[in-house]
Symmetry: C2
Subunit: 431 residues, 2 copies
């Protein structure tokens, strides 16, 4: 039986090898750089990558005595996250050539743990809707999703085992699902956001894109600033699963509907009590609530760019986000924020009756066309409610492209989310 | 009767004159610059001030057609807030010479409204405890408070009518009180924090330091990104006032106790129902809750500085904040965060029985000594609960130095806070 190529190793497998002397960080980095060189012309996941700088980082790790939690693991960093040794351009020509003077907290913690920053992955413009150059690794005519487009495609194309994205509506879960990856959106507030461009702070989180649940758990330990990794999660059967079709079910593709039903059946067969969960009517207008909060905050967060570079902002962003955001009054915003807080508490109550919710990750397979990045609605509810969620790459659609299913748990139950995710993957022989 | 000097005008008075052609932004700026030149050697409120740059800004405003809400108003900006045309050094030599590439949102909104950024006011190290060079304007042997030391002193010394600070525990309310100013801490989340150094995001807000309630309300409109100013607040009598001595009453100076009692009596005489409010026992351990949240987040937020410049961090900060912050486990932090959320909801309930809470702004007058900035405890409860609060400069102590009283209202009731503040000032003939 032939071993899988080095660039296919998960982060956890890499760490076991680097810390036991079986592979150097440099060899690991070179394997990924080689694979990137091969795949990048078609995928275009990277906004910036400097192989020399990558090798320097890896060599420094190999020379050092430390054995970090991510020792020698190549990581992709979404280009709205500051790096002191690489440009950070936030997906816009306005900030072309900008080099931050310090690393974002999440980058500094990644480096402290021995991670190798491979480069900056493509973001849509200001982590919003206007797409960058990245294409789906399995079909260059399709979007990789967004806004964490490059992070999704880079992990999906086996260029790196781990990448950092962000999420304000569905910007991690969706590209992770499209690219056949695990995508994790943490409980809001768990990971520090210093040095991460704020789209809408009331909703923003980091997002992790990976190829195993174990890797997500490992990177979470690093990003929480823990001194040692938490124990690996152990597959755990949930007692009560709520299948939540949401108000977006009508626009959900058949393949996604089938994936949800198939996953629900497997969970039931596996011994969980699986029932339908219909959200209260208060959740119906969640798109409007999300739109008000995200646009009001986004438009103010870009005050400097609006003052000085308005014409260089894409028409899409000006028309769909900034004009609307500036038009909302503070009272309209505050009402939406108050409503979101009520929904969050209602969701806490819902989780008294359910251990985990099963729901679509996206509308379907990655859609054709490079002018948009797919519908974001499917994560809006969970983003607003600050709950942790994970998309599992368990299914595929009519075009043989990946389809994810999303698991959601109550706020603060991120570890439990990992455990249930492992159990669910196990039902499909994928853990 | 002689008119007061130009530099003593409030922001609202300035705007009425600049927009009616009675004074130019340049003349206004020059008046403040002259007064700063006179007072600065003793007070040392400014970390950076470039008179030429100030005059350029003012002249550009005078040439322009726009008539902003802050037209020609000189504003001081705490040096943890990014400015594209001035250095921003966060109170630490680690960032000496750093010039951000864009303005913070609050600065960009200030400029859009016609405000003149006079310079950067001194912050303690990373907006924490280790003091900068600033002295109390009325006694150079006393602290001006902190962490917004320069902003408090600059407004107190009549150098500018308005200044931006920040608050993570008592960093706006305390220096405002010490310096005889109005100090306003908004409902958490109202003002965008892009470009403001994060100390502990779960608690951080901007803070406004001013010389009138009207000015605070005006600047609030600007910072919310409103197109026009909200109507001036009108004095409003609260029905139910809760006098909250808090668990810190024992360490409160006699003069502050007397100020609270005197204010309570006046409010009662003025027709409000004034009763004692004892907080539930769940608030007793609030210092520990605050310490866990602020230190856990702060230590992670400084990940880059810890990686690269640990020795250049003051011993005070390393010992009192960073080591402790790094030692807390995520679970300890999360428990504290959960507790703070419960307290926030409990406070919402308390405000069903009270319209406004009256409580000390600080321990007493600005204390002697320049190695510390005074006790922060007196704002901790309200900071944790995300409630808006205002310190009113209505009293003085045994050394003829200012003593403030703090009013607090429920979350989202910032406008009401202004109205009750005006009414309260009116009771003392000061509105």
């Amino acid at each position: 039986m032939s071993e899988k190529p080095i660039y296919e190793l998960t982060a956890s497998e890499i760490v076991r090898r680097t810390t036991s002397g079986k592979i150097t960080a440099e060899a690991m980095a070179r394997a990924c750089l080689d694979h990137i060189a091969e795949r990048e012309p078609a995928v275009q996941a990277w906004h910036y990558i400097d192989p020399d700088l990558v090798i320097q980082q890896a060599q420094a790790l190999d020379r050092g005595a430390a054995q970090g939690m991510l020792q020698g693991v190549p990581v992709g960093i979404k280009d709205i996250i500051d790096t002191a040794d690489m440009p950070t351009e936030y997906g816009t020509p306005i900030h072309a050539g900008h080099r931050p003077h310090i690393d974002a907290t999440c980058v500094a913690l990644t480096r402290r743990a021995g991670g190798v920053v491979m480069g900056k992955t493509v973001s849509t413009e200001f982590a919003n809707r206007h797409p960058g150059k990245t294409r789906h690794p399995m079909d260059p005519l399709r979007t990789p999703g967004g806004s964490s487009s490059g992070s999704g495609a880079a992990v999906g194309a086996r260029m790196v085992p781990l990448a950092l994205g962000t999420q304000t509506s569905g910007s991690t879960i969706r590209p992770a699902a499209y690219n056949g990856c695990f995508g994790y959106r943490p409980t809001w507030g768990d990971f520090r956001m210093v040095g991460v461009m704020e789209a809408a702070g009331s909703l923003d989180t980091l997002g992790l894109i990976a190829r195993s649940v174990e890797d997500v758990a490992l990177y979470r330990s690093v990003l929480l600033g823990q001194k040692t990794a938490s124990p690996d999660p152990v597959a755990t059967k949930p007692r009560r699963v709520g299948v939540c079709h949401t108000q977006f079910w009508e626009k959900t593709d058949e393949a996604t509907k089938a994936a949800i039903e198939s996953c629900a059946q497997a969970m039931s067969k596996g011994g969980a009590k699986v029932t339908d969960l219909k959200l209260p009517a208060s959740f119906d207008a969640i798109d409007e609530t999300h739109q008000r909060i995200s646009s009001f905050e986004f438009a103010r967060n870009r005050a400097w760019e609006i003052n000085h570079h308005y014409a260089e902002i894409s028409e899409t962003l000006r028309e769909n986000r900034i004009k609307q955001g500036l038009a909302y009054t503070f009272e309209e915003y505050r009402d939406a924020r108050d409503h979101s807080e009520k929904l969050k508490l209602q969701m806490d109550d819902i989780f008294k009756d359910y251990d985990v919710i099963l729901t679509p990750s996206a509308q379907g397979e990655a859609p054709l066309g490079l002018n948009a990045t797919g519908a974001h609605d499917f994560s809006t509810i969970w983003t607003i409610c600050h709950t942790p969620s994970m998309t599992l790459p368990l299914f595929s659609g009519p075009n043989k492209l990946p389809i994810g299913v999303q698991l959601v748990t109550r706020r603060d139950a991120d570890r439990y989310l990992f455990e249930v995710s492992l159990w669910t993957c196990g039902l499909f022989g994928k853990a």
